[in-house]
Symmetry: C2
Subunit: 79 residues, 2 copies
């Protein structure tokens, strides 16, 4: 099993990395490109009961993989 | 439309961030956790023809959003 976690800055939080990519794309001549958000991606190989794993990782995400004050996370577990 | 890009280090490349998260999870008492890979996640708001956008972003990924020597990327465009 694999857990896939996507951590993104909350919409209200400044995202300088995203703004930089946005400007860079515009500068390189790519049209039709709007806002860019840059986040982190974690892929974790896991074993055990799916629901237990989900609960544990959800706790880990909340406690130390993300900063819930400024970031949102999305946890998905795939077989 | 939104483009979602996931950039991960190639399997053969050292991933110190992933190793750190892996050790941290084990240290915090989470069991059943195997290898961890840490990558980047980009969400880009796009407009225009889907196929044109895909071609453009694929080129951008290859040219400067990722480093094809050490990284893989996955591009997905959703409505």
């Amino acid at each position: 099993m694999k857990a896939k976690i996507i951590i993104t800055p909350k919409k209200a939080v400044l995202d300088p990395q995203g703004q930089t990519v946005e400007r860079a794309l515009a500068h390189m001549g790519y049209t039709g490109v709007g806002h860019v958000h840059v986040g982190k991606y974690l892929e974790i190989e896991v074993t055990g009961d799916k629901e237990t794993v989900r609960r544990q990782l959800d706790e880990a995400c909340h406690k130390f993989l993300s900063n819930p004050v400024i970031e949102d996370y999305k946890l998905e577990i795939v077989d």
